[in-house]
């Protein structure tokens, strides 16, 4: 059973169908990137999964607990980090976390220990007596993540956690999220920064105009839409000779010049591609570069979506 199961949810706002029969799942210990253009239905889906909004149809299960039938039970499994989170004025980091720890029914020594643990995990221990008002955006995001972890949830939903962060803060956040996946937490994370997600996620769910366009591991989704793999090859010999040799080989389609080498498109298995390299060597060519170019998340996203607006 997946830790997070989105089961055919639909959400309408008047005549607008914000989410249309969306289904996907996130396994424990895996990070799934939730990708889609603005207004695609990401935040609506996440808010439904977080029990904050209601679907018109469908349900979401958190560790098997329905967000509709047992929202309080579901909330015990869930850590939700919204895109716009709140801070209380005149409150220190410790007081903020202590308040939420109490709100999560943690008492006595357990509460104090848990606050210390999340402060340490998010590297905020040194700032515990600082007021929240003076924190940078990156530190506030880390604090919000710390709050999200207080009750040790098994499912984390992070809505645009990297938005507005500088590169260092983004790297630090990415490391934290990876560490959390290492603790067997199922993590759904949305972001507009696709390169960021590509380095962080095991799987993706692509949504456009409220419909899920693809879900699964990055590799599976890429393989599903990529019919031919572009491969860059450069040899010490003449490029024309390389081109002639390549086009005679099975599985090789179209070749074009790029810099001092060639890019050809290959259709077939990795074994077949290894066979191409071996055939070039057998033909007396001396390759110095031979690089298959897998589709990046941006290419995947662009080929799956049509830029539809709702």
């Amino acid at each position: 059973m997946a830790a997070l199961e989105v089961c055919g949810i639909t959400k309408r706002f008047g005549s607008l169908v914000a989410v249309d029969q969306a289904s996907f799942a996130v396994e424990a210990g895996r990070i799934t990137g939730f990708i889609g253009p603005n207004g695609a239905g990401k935040t609506t889906t996440m808010r439904i999964a977080a029990t904050l909004d209601l679907p018109d149809e469908g349900d979401v299960l958190l560790d098997g607990v329905s967000v509709l039938d047992d929202p309080r039970g579901a909330r015990r499994k869930l850590g939700f980090m919204p895109d716009a989170y709140g801070a209380y004025p005149s409150t220190t980091l410790w007081e903020y976390l202590d308040f939420y720890a109490r709100a999560y029914d943690l008492h006595g020594a357990l509460r104090r220990r848990r606050v210390e643990e999340v402060l340490e995990f998010t590297s905020l221990s040194a700032l515990r007596e600082k007021e929240m008002a003076v924190l940078s955006k990156g530190l506030k995001q880390r604090l919000c993540l710390a709050k999200t972890l207080l009750h040790d949830p098994s499912v984390l939903i992070l809505d645009e956690p990297a938005a507005g962060l500088d590169p260092r803060a983004r790297v630090e956040l990415r490391e934290l999220v990876r560490a959390l996946a290492g603790m067997r937490k199922a993590i759904l994370v949305s972001s507009h920064i696709l390169t960021e997600l590509a380095e962080m996620c095991d799987g993706i769910a692509v949504i456009e105009a409220g419909r899920i366009k693809a879900t699964g591991s990055v590799h599976d989704v890429t393989r599903g839409i990529q019919t031919a793999v572009p491969v860059f090859v450069r040899v010490l010999e003449d490029a024309d000779r390389l081109e002639r040799a390549l086009l005679e080989l099975p599985g090789v389609e179209r070749a074009r010049r790029e810099g001092q080498g060639l890019v050809f498109e290959h259709q077939g298995s990795p074994e077949s591609l290894a066979g191409v390299l071996a055939a070039l060597v057998a033909a007396g060519l001396r390759p110095v570069e031979f690089t298959p170019r897998a589709m990046g998340l941006e290419e995947v996203f662009l080929s799956l979506t049509e830029g539809k607006l709702q």
Binding site: A2, E5, V6, C7, G8, F13, G14, S23, F24, A25, A50, T51, L52, L54, G58, D59, S66, L68, D69, D70, P71, R72, R75, R76, L78, F80, P82, A84, Y85, G86, A87, Y88, P89, S90, T91, E95, D98, F99, Y100, R102, A103, Y104, D105, H107, G108, R111, R112, K147, H151, R211, I212, K213, A214, T215, G216, D220, V221, G224, I225, L304
Partner: protein, 493 residues
């Protein structure tokens, strides 16, 4: 502190910390206390050398304290709840393990402590007014206690109104409404204080029992009702957000009838049962506007709490969410009212000027038909609107507007056409004049129209019961209904 407060309400601790650290309280508290002292001194100077100056100094001091207790403390509560929306902390609170009731209770406790601080600040001045003589200690303590309780009740009103909407614009409107209510409470409180300490009708005189009962009743009613409303507004949409309010209103109406029958026995001997029953029915109708305009569906969490026993489920139906069940709730209140009126009429016997006879009962039913048309008829007509997300709010605005227009337009038409008595001649259902000038044909029309509306609502009422019985039957089954699962974790759509 951290250890001692381990089991305290976290919201209370947070609110108290924020209030006491906040600049608003830091400025307003000393300013208000200084204003109270200044007012007392000014009153003293003006009154010199009257021997019994207590009442003349107490009243202006109570007004200043009233502004703090009924204005500043509820304003702080309103801002606190509104701030949860504005600061984006509302969602985080709702997601925590705090129940809506604990959140509201925490904020109310904080308001109670803030209010205590104001009262403590005013204590020397209040003691001083007592020492000036002319103020009975019991009256003084009752007025202080009532003002303190009113402060908490107004804070409950403020919390409920602030929790109604996320929109800043509407919250400003609701803040103005809160301020209006606070002003009304201040005026009523001043009148009560004046009655007690200046008009010689205080607790020691034996004439205050009705005033005391009315004051305590009003404060308790507002406090309880709005605490229930504030709590349900924070509940999950699939939870029962209507039932607690329905139970509270029913309880308050029964308490009102009990109070009118016992404490208000003198009042009851001079006012016809018909008029009391009609007024309380109108009050129930005002609340019913909120219940009959709900969507018809039984929310899932509410369905999960329907009694397993089918008979009990049917009895509980009027107190479960849903527009049709709102109509049932209102009809139940009418049944309670009719039973009460019959019992009171039987108790008072034939000596009453206007007994509760089959004739007056018919007229009362005709009067209630007027409400039935708006509550059941128009809410039925707005069925499709009510199912939309904005529907209940729209229906709650449309229903009273239509009711007011239907009274104002014929009145206007009557005036324009030169009718000598436009109320009598133009309104389809006579209301206030019906008791004194019975118009049998119009009462009959009202009853027929009411009957037709009720008949049109029958399918809706049957569906309301059917939903409850189905939920009850589901609870008796050993396993919940299976949920649809995703067919494929990796698919292209």
């Amino acid at each position: 502190m951290s250890g001692a407060s381990d089991r305290w309400n976290p919201i209370f601790l947070k609110e108290l910390r924020q209030s006491l650290r906040g600049r608003v309280f830091g400025i307003l508290f000393p300013t208000t206390v200084l204003a109270g002292v200044a007012v007392a001194i000014t009153a003293m100077v003006d009154l010199h050398p009257r021997p019994i100056a207590g009442p003349d100094v107490l009243l202006p001091v109570l007004v200043v304290l009233g502004v703090a207790a009924l204005g500043l403390v509820p304003f702080s509560a309103f801002q606190s709840m509104g701030g949860e929306w504005d600061d984006g902390t509302h969602d985080l609170l709702v997601l925590s393990h705090l129940s809506p009731g604990r959140i509201v209770l925490g904020k109310l406790l904080s308001a109670a402590v803030e209010s205590v601080l104001y009262f403590a600040g005013f204590a020397p001045v209040l003691l001083f007014t007592f020492l000036l003589s002319g103020v009975d200690l019991r009256d003084l303590l009752f007025l202080i206690g009532a003002l303190y309780a009113a402060s908490i009740a107004m804070s409950a009103v403020a919390l409920a109104l602030a929790g109604l909407t996320r929109s800043r614009f509407w919250r400003v409107v609701l803040l103005a409404a809160t301020a209006g209510l606070a002003f009304l409470a201040l005026v009523l409180g001043y009148d009560l204080a004046e009655t007690f300490v200046k008009r010689g009708r205080g607790l020691g005189t034996g004439h205050a029992s009705e005033d005391v009962a009315a004051t305590i009743g009003l404060i308790l009613a507002f406090g309880t009702l709005f605490t229930a409303i504030a709590s349900t507004r924070l509940a999950h949409p699939e939870d029962d957000r209507s039932g607690p309010v329905r139970w509270t209103v029913s309880g308050l109406l029964v308490a009102l009838l009990a109070a009118v029958t016992t404490v208000g026995a003198g009042f009851m001997s001079s006012v016809p049962v018909f008029e009391v029953a009609a007024l309380v029915g109108a009050l129930a109708a005002a609340f019913a506007v909120f219940f009959v305009t709900e969507p018809e569906r039984l929310p899932r969490r509410a369905a999960a709490r329907v009694p397993r026993n089918a008979a009990l489920a049917v009895l509980a139906a009027p107190f479960l969410p849903g527009g049709g069940r709102g109509v049932l709730w209102w009809l139940l209140q009418l049944a309670i009212l009719a039973a009460w009126a019959t019992a009171v009429a039987a108790w008072h016997g034939a000596g009453r000027a206007r007994p509760w006879t089959p004739g007056t009962f018919g007229q009362w039913c005709a009067f209630q038909s007027y409400f039935l048309v708006y509550l059941a008829g128009f809410s039925l007509a707005l069925g499709r609107v009510r199912e939309r997300s904005y529907g209940p709010l729209a229906a709650r605005l449309i229903l009273p507007s239509v009711a007011v227009l239907s009274m104002v337009l014929p009145l206007l038409a009557g005036f324009l056409s030169g009718e000598t008595n436009p109320i009598r001649d133009s309104i389809l259902f006579p209301t206030g004049a019906m008791q004194r000038e019975p118009h049998a044909p119009k009462s009959l029309v009202a009853l027929v129209v009411g009957g037709v509306v009720l008949a049109l609502n029958l399918p809706r009422l049957i569906t309301s019961f059917a939903q409850v019985l189905a939920a009850s039957a589901r609870r008796r089954r050993p396993l919940p209904a299976p949920l649809e699962r995703p067919t494929d974790a990796a698919h292209a759509g």
